[in-house]
Amino acid sequence: MKNNVYDNEFIPSIIKYGRITLFLGMLLALGPALILALHFGYMPPIGAIIAGTLAQMSVSGAFYVVEPISYFPILGIPGTYMAFLSGNLVNMRIPCAVAAQEAAGVKQGTNEGAIISTLGIAVSILINIAILSIAVFLGSSVLASLPAEVTRVLNLILPALFGAVFGQFAIQRPKLGVVAITIAGFMTFLLKQGFLSFLPGTPSYAVILVSVFGTIAAGKKIYGKELQGE
């Protein structure tokens, strides 16, 4: 009964609104470019648009597929719709989702976990937009007057955040944490030494894929036996 509400009502309506908002998002994203072309008359040659887009796609193309698939087990259906519309996945949406789950005392990968992470992601999106809006309306002059030292220190928040999120999960599943960092460390080493350069584009997508699905496979082996009894 309890799960019926989640599977039969919540998820279908999330899929419906998720697809509607993504579709609207794709249309409205074009807004500024269309205003430039139709109102101001600044339309670049089609060839230049294609050249610029292709250059970007050669870097990002693989990530269009790799990122949604790799992060889906973390985000679930509602989280995927939200995170890919709003961006800033790994530096904000995922950390906020897991922090919210930790605070509510729910497990990732359960229905309760998905509800809590949806709430967490929604709040992080609204706060992020509020902060950006205040900043941009105050004007770039305020931001530009930040001393270089402050910017340097602020840029250290991100690596510290990555470490903290990893630590939060690793302490709960230490064996898997060691496996994960070993796989990822080896793959990153290969990437940095140029051993993956035979792959097209920016091969860090290969590192993400191997790290995520390698760790999942190891997790199934390590914890599969414990589950047999259940």
Binding site: I115, L132, R173
Partner: protein, 231 residues
């Protein structure tokens, strides 16, 4: 620089606001539905409020990082585009790269001499079209991806949290390895954040301190930042 007048035109603000509006709308719809369903499946109001509060606290640090990077985007692409693109799909690194490719396709260096309105427009097109792939893929396939998790879990529901944890550890192990192998201040910040968070989670599980649950991630990220800044 003339093109910035166009870039900061009220109509550009309007177009950007519509796109940002969709993101806000989606968040509000999803949050409302989750809150209602959460009650139905037995989550307490206290749990959900604590989750939202924690997420709000944890958003401050990452937002400050985005702000620090936003300057470079405002000065090259104007306020509306910077505001829209950072609220919507993108990240600073991606957006600067895409705008750069767009300008480059017209033989101009982003924000430098020769940056006309048309070159600016090409940067905007490239940013938008270059990020369409993520939206298109999630639009087409998200509702089918549950099958992937089911296959990975061999159809066992108890296995799903392990799959999630594996994905989480795998992804963040890569981000950690990437930073740590830089052997710089970022590496020290990363390791410090990791150790601090482990200590915080350990203490919090032992003593069950509520505020530590809500502030833990923020303490670890700013603590790691401070330790990293020492070198």
């Amino acid at each position: 620089m003339n093109y910035l007048e166009v870039a900061n035109h009220p109509l550009m603000w309007t177009a950007a606001a519509l796109a940002v509006g969709v993101v806000i709308l989606q968040s509000i719809i999803f949050a409302k539905k989750s809150y209602k369903t959460g009650k139905d499946i037995g989550l307490t109001e206290q749990q959900m409020k604590s989750a939202m509060k924690t997420s709000a606290i944890s958003s401050i640090g990452p937002s400050m990082v985005i702000l620090a990077g936003m300057v470079s985007l405002i000065v090259t692409m104007g306020g509306p585009i910077a505001w829209m693109r950072l609220s919507f799909i993108g990240s600073v690194t991606y957006e600067l790269m895409a705008a750069g490719f767009g300008a480059d396709a017209m033989g101009v260096v982003l924000g430098k001499e020769g940056m006309t309105e048309v070159v600016f427009a090409n940067g905007v097109w490239t940013m938008i079209l270059g990020s369409m792939g993520w939206l298109l893929f999630t639009f087409l396939f998200t509702h089918k991806m549950d099958k992937l998790t089911k296959v990975l879990a061999n159809g066992k529901k108890a296995m799903v949290p392990i799959i999630s944890a594996g994905a989480m550890l795998g992804a963040f192990a890569y981000f950690n390895a990437d930073r740590i192998l830089g052997f710089d201040a970022g590496a020290l910040a990363c390791i410090s954040g990791l150790v601090l968070m482990m200590i915080i989670v350990y203490i919090q599980k032992k003593k069950n301190i509520t505020w530590l649950r809500e502030w833990g991630l923020t303490i670890a990220m700013f603590g790691g930042m401070l330790i990293g800044s020492l070198i």
